[in-house]
């Protein structure tokens, strides 16, 4: 696959020791790509950890240091924010379960290093949603969606409340009652996730998902969401989670079992496939074979190739230097696909299928020319 120069960014992230050998013009491109993909701080964190920080020329280093400074400040604000949310929820008795970035930072996982976290995401039981919402509003959070249609859309079709913003602090809080919308084809059970949640080291009143659930949530989030600008970052989150959590004995077996339980085998399959292809994440062959055997995962080879083409182009950062002519189309089709998976299939328009056909034909032609 000859998509331009993603290797520079991915290599820099995966082999931070190699940063010492980059030329200034490589640094120029690297900083711009990393900034676009919201990975500048992560790049810096990796360099510091690998001991290559001092070898970076002063000019690009300033940009990495600035991004790290921003990320560090965000983490401080995040800790305060989590404390404030916990206090607000205390009267309801609903435990505070953090998701995604906030969870990684709270737990001190490697996935948190240099990660920019702007919103806090939490998971609560659907039955207690009203209680939670009202406790949060008492403590100063207000809904950001003012118009009635958006409110209705969120509450009917989505798995989360419209985002809440704190009146004084301006921070944003997303309250989820499921990790996928009620209308999606896959329906992972929130109750199972909540029951397996565990307290983090820092504060025993704050919970995060069990390790396998964190991975599955990350996979589901990446491969079902409509927006793909942070696709590469999402892959790297998964990569960091899998490398760290995958060390635990029994993790991979439990991962397959849990994927089946939560009906998330297909997103997990995509997650393992694309993290491996794009960023070299290791995983046991046995895991992938087990997934492929599942009826939920099997698909016609042509469809798999189309999806591969779409994802490989869609998961790149949007910077001009990492795209090719197909990418805007691929990106918009994936956006639609994301929505297709959210809404029942009957709502999908016919012309989209025709567009899929065009991408497949294009693929065949390019392969023929390189043969």
């Amino acid at each position: 696959m000859s998509l331009p120069s993603l290797d520079l960014l991915v290599n820099a992230l995966q082999q931070p020791a190699s940063l010492a050998g980059l030329s200034l013009s490589q640094w120029d491109l690297l900083v711009r790509q990393a900034r676009q993909a919201d990975l500048l701080a992560r790049l810096g964190a990796g360099a510091q950890e690998a001991g290559s920080w001092a070898a970076i020329p002063a000019a690009p280093r300033m940009h990495l240091a600035s991004a790290l400074q921003l990320a560090a400040r965000q983490h401080v604000e995040l800790r305060h924010e989590v404390r404030a949310i916990e206090r607000a929820l205390r009267p309801t008795g609903v435990p505070l379960v953090l998701l995604k970035g906030a969870a990684y930072v709270q737990t001190g996982l490697r996935a948190a290093q240099g990660r920019m976290v702007s919103d806090v995401d939490i998971l609560v039981p659907r039955e207690q949603l009203a209680e939670v919402e009202s406790a949060l509003m008492m403590a100063g959070w207000v809904s950001t969606q003012r118009n009635a249609y958006d409110q209705l859309y969120y509450r009917t079709w989505m798995h989360e409340l419209p985002p809440l913003r704190h009146m004084k602090r301006g921070s944003v809080l997303d309250v989820h009652h499921a990790i996928l919308p009620p209308t999606a084809r896959y329906k992972p059970d929130t109750g199972l996730l909540l029951r397996a949640a565990r307290a983090t080291g820092a504060d025993e009143r704050v919970f995060v998902l069990a390790p396998v659930d964190m991975v599955l949530h990350s996979a589901a989030h990446l491969f079902h969401e409509g927006e793909l600008d942070l696709g590469l970052r999402g892959l790297l989150d998964l990569d960091a989670l899998l490398r760290e959590l995958g060390q635990e004995p029994g993790f991979w077996l439990e991962l397959i079992h849990r994927a089946h339980q939560l009906d998330l085998e297909r997103p997990l399959f995509h997650a393992l496939r694309y993290t491996h292809w794009m960023v070299g994440t290791p995983h046991p062959d046995a895991t992938v074979h087990a997934l492929q055997a599942s009826p939920r995962v099997r698909m016609p080879r042509l469809q798999q190739r189309v999806l591969d083409a779409l994802y490989l182009r869609g998961l790149r950062p949007e910077h001009a230097s990492t795209s090719d002519a197909w990418t805007p189309l691929a990106r918009s089709l994936l956006y639609l696909r994301g929505h297709w998976l959210r809404m029942p299939p009957g709502l999908l328009a016919g012309h989209l299928l025709r567009k899929l056909g065009a991408v497949v034909r294009g693929e065949r032609a390019s392969h023929a020319s390189t043969a």
Binding site: V76, E77, H80, K168, R169
Partner: protein, 95 residues
């Protein structure tokens, strides 16, 4: 009237930095990055409260005045603490 109330504060004392000059003081709150200007006495009072958790109003008055506080002084100290509360710098622990 019962025993003088003992002050207890939120576990937020680590969030604050105080700078005191002869003609004024500033408190920085790391949680939201805000700065609050205070008069020098208030600044010093806040500094003491951060250094010594659980300080009683009488003990605080004594530290500020370098002598035993009278009733008027204690009223002023109480006002000061109410000010701190309303500024969000302090919180009384539940009884």
């Amino acid at each position: 009237m019962g025993a003088a109330p003992v002050l207890a504060h939120l576990d937020r004392s680590a969030d604050f930095v105080v700078k005191v000059w002869a003609d004024g003081a500033v408190v920085y709150d790391e949680a939201d990055g805000s700065l609050q200007a205070l008069n020098p006495v208030a600044g010093e009072a806040f500094q003491r409260l951060l250094e010594q958790p659980g300080l009683s109003p009488t003990a605080l008055g004594r530290l500020l005045l370098q002598e035993e506080p009278d009733a008027e002084d204690l009223r002023l100290v109480a006002d000061l603490l109410r000010e701190f509360e309303s500024l969000g710098l302090w919180e009384r622990a539940p009884a």
